[in-house]
């Protein structure tokens, strides 16, 4: 029938032959609904055409309420599904199945019958299953009624000459083997790792499991040679490893091996790291006939290990840089403080200023800090009346926040030693704003009032060098220091949108 369809026999001829055949035939859609049925089938099942068409098979025939019914249904269903999924004819030599029989026009009883059935898939030109043909025969009458206490050993069966009994026992064995095989296939299909079986020197996909389908983006690769099925692997070494396993019969093992896969048409290549093994499959003569592929996608582990390494490297880098910064502060502070006690005080104050800004940044997971919060931190020790902070909220990047924290510390220290905060009534006004929205710049002025008259220092100490260098070097900004008669005025401008790459 399959052959006839593919050879283009006239549909009308087939329909006539189907309807008139003395053999009982039932046509099912792939989801096991009744598509068509011939008269012989209606006769043998004592049913009516309108009751069957379009219904699910196992609703139309449920084998009745008996204890055996679910097992009977299961066997028929398994055979049909096997025929459909493997595209191969399947025989059910012997199956019990109950049918209703009306006794007196209204009372219905189920009667167990014994059947033999063949299930044949009907394929279209592309090889897809269009319909399933069931050919079934009622063979109940071929069975001699067995006394209930008859021994049923294999020997009895053979000696007893009951071919049908033997057929039944073979059928039973087949069923057990089938069950075993299905369990293995199920394990293969559901295995968490990816598994595929390739055959021949071109490595055609014979079978692959769900995890393999997931890995390659659920492409249709069944039956295709690997170079056609997964063309993006060209140049990545995998074809060559397979060729070599096929040629030499030696297994190949890959560890954290990079495979670049195009999991959707037109999508960019995705990096996957795989642990896998290619094992040769040999025939009875020892000849390599295929390759068993199994493995795991370890991409997550590989990336996690890399992230961890890069975080440790980055942490090490930051710690060493911070130590170098502290070293610099220590050496330079020591040069301007010959007395160990004043050195300790000045050094400690600078380290604490650095630490304060770290605290602020830690609160935002090092995303940034607010300008006012930094100013408040560096000036709160002088009390609320001495400082007047006036300006909008400005979010500062971590590097800018660290630099400005140190700068404000130096300015405040300087003011308390020589400037407005060295007198009882001196004040400091800090005003700021952000100019130029396309390339935002922070403009800030630090004005000391009511302090002693100040003059530019003869030699520039570490504090003022640190301020100027930090603004120009680290922040690419500008600073202007004016020593007015009322006190120091510092005007500074810092670009806010510097990317780290600049």
């Amino acid at each position: 029938m399959t052959e006839l369809l593919t050879q283009g026999a006239s549909i009308a001829d087939l329909a006539t032959a189907f309807a008139a055949s003395p053999n009982p035939y039932l046509l099912l859609t792939p989801d096991l609904r009744i598509f068509d049925v011939n008269q012989a089938y209606l006769d043998v099942t004592r049913s009516h055409r309108p009751d069957l068409l379009g219904r699910p098979l196992f609703q139309a025939f449920d084998s009745g309420p008996g204890q055996e019914a679910p097992e009977n249904v299961r066997q028929v269903r398994a055979s049909l599904e096997k025929a459909r999924d493997t595209r191969q004819r399947d025989h059910l030599a012997l199956v019990r199945y109950s049918l209703p029989r009306r006794l007196d026009g209204c009372r219905e009883v189920f009667e167990e019958r014994i059947w033999s059935a063949t299930h044949t898939p009907l394929l279209d030109a592309e090889g897809e299953v269009v319909l399933l043909l069931q050919h079934t025969m009622d063979i109940t009458d071929l069975f001699p009624a067995a006394p209930p206490d008859e021994p049923t050993t294999a020997l009895d069966a053979i000696v007893g000459g009951s071919v049908l009994r033997r057929a039944q026992s073979v059928q039973e064995d087949n069923r057990r083997l089938e069950k075993e095989r299905n369990r293995l296939v199920e394990m293969f299909m559901q295995a968490p790792g990816f598994v595929a079986i390739l055959s021949g020197p071109d490595h055609c996909f014979q079978m692959y499991n769900a995890a393999y389908g997931q890995l390659i983006g659920h492409r249709d690769i069944a039956g295709k040679p690997i170079r056609e099925a997964l063309p993006e692997l060209a140049g990545q070494g995998y074809y060559e490893f397979l060729d070599s396993v096929f040629a030499t019969g030696e297994a190949y093992e890959g560890r954290e091996s990079l495979a670049q896969l195009q999991r959707r048409p037109g999508a960019p290549l995705e990096n996957h790291y795989l642990d896998f093994i290619y094992q040769p499959i040999r025939d009875e003569a020892g000849q390599v006939v295929g390759i068993f592929v199994q493995g795991h996608d370890v991409t997550e582990n590989v990336l996690a290990a890399r992230r961890q390494k890069s975080m440790i490297d980055e942490l090490n880098h930051r710690v060493k840089n911070t130590l170098a910064t502290v070293q610099s502060i220590a050496i330079q502070t020591a040069r301007s403080h010959r007395d160990p006690s004043t050195f300790a005080q000045a050094f400690q104050a600078r380290i604490l200023a650095l630490s304060h800004t770290h605290d602020l940044l830690t609160r935002t997971h090092w995303e940034g800090a607010d300008l006012r919060a930094i100013l408040e931190h560096e000036t709160e020790a002088f009390g609320p009346t001495r400082f007047h902070l006036n300006g909008p909220a400005v979010a500062l990047a971590p590097a800018t926040a660290l630099s400005l924290g140190m700068i404000f510390h130096e300015l405040a220290t300087n003011a308390s030693k020589y400037g407005a905060l060295s007198t009882p009534h001196g004040r400091v006004l800090v005003d700021w704003g952000v100019a130029d929205q396309t390339a935002p710049k922070l403009k800030l002025s630090w004005r000391e009032l009511d302090g002693p008259k100040v003059t530019p220092p003869d030699t520039r100490g570490f504090g003022s060098r640190l301020i100027e260098r930090n603004i120009r070097h680290d922040l690419a900004g500008e600073i202007d220091l004016v020593y007015g008669k009322d006190g120091l005025i510092a005007e500074l401008m810092v670009p806010l949108d510097r990317t780290p790459a600049l």
């Binding site: 880098h317 170098a324 040069r335 070097h473 680290d474 600049l502």
Partner: protein, 125 residues
Amino acid sequence: MNQPLSGRRVLVVEDESLVAMLLETILEDMECVPIGPASNIDDGETLARDTVELDAALLDVNVAGRQVFPVAEALKARGVPFVFSTGYGEGGLPDEWRGSPTIQKPFTEAAVRDALLKAMGVAEV
């Protein structure tokens, strides 16, 4: 004390001003003349190419998120010896630069001097 590096002009590429200031202090103590410091790769490359008299360079490997190797290339092309400074140590350098004299942060004056001498000695071979 004898200062073997007296008068040498040494370029400094380092994005953190405090660390740059430390290097300058160390170089001045060794009677060297610090050039720069450059706080980014572009300025570093310009100074590496255009500074007429240049005897050596101290290059921070990670400069504001970029790697300093373009500056090293420019120096190499002129035959000017250089020393990498890094928080990672020599293991943090890519293969092609491995083996170059390297100082690890935080650094001592002796380490800076020895690395510069080694770099200049290698260059004279």
